[in-house]
Symmetry: D4
């Protein structure tokens, strides 16, 4: 049984590659999708497609409209969603994607460091499973096939 | 036509009272609901009801389970959701509630300061209306009745 | 049994007042809601609430975001939707609202002049009932209570 | 990941062929579907299948019933919807299809010329992304795969 | 707790009055709604509102469009649906309404004489409860309040 | 694009074979599913699987439970539903299946002889397309691919 | 804000009365509904309404069909569901009702003694809040109003 | 037509293997999925992935969170659900899964011994088909293909 996994969250580390290569090693029949990982492209995509915008609000809105379309298309294809929170940044997109997943009845695995237990407690409580490492998230995926 | 408005977000300022008293002045037939505004109670509610928990993760999970039940009950009653982001704190609950609202097709008004335009751009793009002040949010509610 | 009726369409004639006064004469327990009928206000509402916008696209987007929130709130309250098309204007909002109603399983009455039979044929086919006059639409509402 | 794209809108220009051939050049794994592009067939299909109808209203209703079945089947298969508005015609079917897409949570790309910004402002605000050219719509689709 | 009950089925006997008067005797807080019980009006309503139609098919389609709008409005208000089948007539509307109720997760009570057990077996199997008399259907409603 | 078509209705004529062979001739990529066409098996299946039942009501209920499971599984797979009514029998299953299809937003083609226009008028009005012959239904399916 | 609470579970102790009287003391605006608490009536209701059945399976099926209709009507009215498990009996209805509540997105409070932690662990994990006593469940309800 | 079947229930006997091998013999194109059948792994999986937990409640909650994610992923893929109840154990997971299936409109086959007719009567009444043996459940699946 092939499953599609949407990988929400931090695009400043290589956790997605780590997860993908371990899934490959374990021969799990998973397809991974997720947000644009090129941060500059993600910020520029609105003006790149639509041309120069009159101010920063419009520039950001243009970019986010394309990013949101991408997320909506790919998350609707997903059977499972993994959301990773790191120590830095506001990461409101990750919270937004994770909450969308739960509300759409997509099973959610939350990865967050011990330091974020308190501020993420309500989201963690809504997730199916909360773990601290990418390896643990892979263990959960692997368990589906055991 | 009476409407129920869920007020998600910051519980460290009195923006809810400000909004409620202005709605009253304008005689708008609105009922306001929202999260627990007593921060200590919100953090303690799990142990207060369920008794002492073995560690902080369990303590936080107990509290968040009660807070999430409250949110689910009240947001399902809401006709409109307003989510306010301030300058401080991680505010992942606010992002979670705002995303839940949009995903449930609840109309969403986002209030955020100019300084948060960039990190909130995707959530702002999914909201129906994004404003900067509580007064502007009230103007939007008032427009429904004009 | 009280019903709420959303009146989509043309805001350049007084057809809503005509419908409301006839419903009153017939003592039908109906509550009528609908879009902003003050055309200037409807076009200005974005800048009125959010302040001056950098160009016409942004100005129109600001206004439409507030208008769409209003429509979403009120149409979700509606038990029946009436959409009236006139001879003039592009009236894409009316088509948009009518299609939203059908897709949300809200019963739809379409009012359109004989001259628009052909261009509106697909929307007419999706409506529950298509009529030519406001009186006929009222007859349909009245039949629910007979 | 293969995606199906429904192409709503104008059938008087060859924009669909342009889009398809560019998608092919870029080797995007897209399947395109859409309305009947043969205008005469689209108008005649009711009588062609059901035989001569008593008047124009019945003739149009017969044709639209078959066209609507086609749209419903194909749009339910679609992962993304693109709706193009041109300068001519009333194009209420395009508005109807676009609104159906948004209401069904199908991501929507709206293509419209600068001259139609104002009359399409509410629909544009509900779309995920609004662009002016077919090339820009293709850029958005391509971004999903980057 | 007040409940609304949609009474689908036969309009040639006075079973609805019987049920209503017994509900009144038992002081059950029920509101009853249902199809047009004046058979001639039900057949004529299309032409009465829309004017003379070119043939019988168009005349019947006009009437049924108004009858279907009525059913859709009222059944969406219903908490319980009762469908009564008698010995005569084809009663396809009753089967249609009963199936719509089950598919919409409206609890369904089916009333049918012993002679119709076999032809109604699949519909009976989908109903919540199948009874033979109006009194038994009332007993089921009364049990909700015991 | 492959589509699955559920063929509801009469099992006493060979209309399904006729439709299938014509679809094959036209090389339409359609998969056809439908109810059990062996009438005796359909009536006996309950006792065949569950053993002898105490009376006819129980025997019929046992059979219908298995038939309904089959219908639910296959109709949920269907992209289009065709329902054929003939001159004989009560055909309440056909009405039930057709209404289930419409309520589930499955596009519906209704086939019925001229003699049944009046008793089927409400169901016909809810169907996407109503035709008189199997050939016409095939024409509608074929149009999806033109 | 008035809320309706469905009280699923054990009918052999007076926990419902205890909860109701405490809600009254605290002046919580709650309406409580639930299953038939008269056990004999609950078992006899099928034969009482439908008459003598041929065997125990049919007798039980008749009773359960009426009980299930009751549950479906009342749970659809509920804003919150409380399910209480005791030490005795199989209590599969309680598990069924609790799971139905969660699947319908009704917030669920689970009450179970310490001795049942292990066998109820999956259901407890799906509930919003799990407590051990009726008083704790009331505390959760009360927190909604604080 | 390939179908996926979720096999809920008892993991202490080899009924799943029996069913699978008979399906293979009959060349039915079925894919079977289900819960973790290694009971120890199912109980340990939480601590195995997340590490040692502070007490039994936390240990059980950790395990159940992973088991529930698995069930949610696999049941959402299922076209049919079979739930088997045996004579021993509380089997609340089986009741939970069966009720989830019915509420999600997944067709349900219930297998239970004669001794459990009474305590399972409400769940049996909500199932599509109730049988006593694995062979009978296979007969029902086979009937879909006949």
């Amino acid at each position: 049984m092939e499953l599609t996994v949407y990988l929400a969250g931090e695009i400043h580390s290589n956790w997605r590659e780590e997860l993908k290569s371990k899934a490959l090693e374990n021969k799990l029949p998973l397809t991974f999708v997720g947000p644009q990982e090129n941060h500059d492209l993600s910020d520029d995509i609105g003006e790149k497609i639509l041309g120069s915008q009159p101010n920063n609000v419009a520039r950001d809105d243009a970019a986010s409209s394309v990013n949101n379309l991408r997320t909506q298309v790919l998350m609707q294809k997903a059977d499972v969603v993994i959301a990773l929170f790191g120590e830095k940044f506001k990461q409101w997109n990750t919270a937004m994607d994770a909450s969308m997943a739960v509300t759409l009845n997509k099973p959610l695995i939350l990865i967050r460091p011990d330091s974020l237990v308190h501020p993420l407690k309500e989201l963690s409580n809504r997730a199916n499973v909360t773990v601290e490492t990418v390896d643990q998230a892979l263990d959960v995926l692997q368990y589906i096939y055991q």
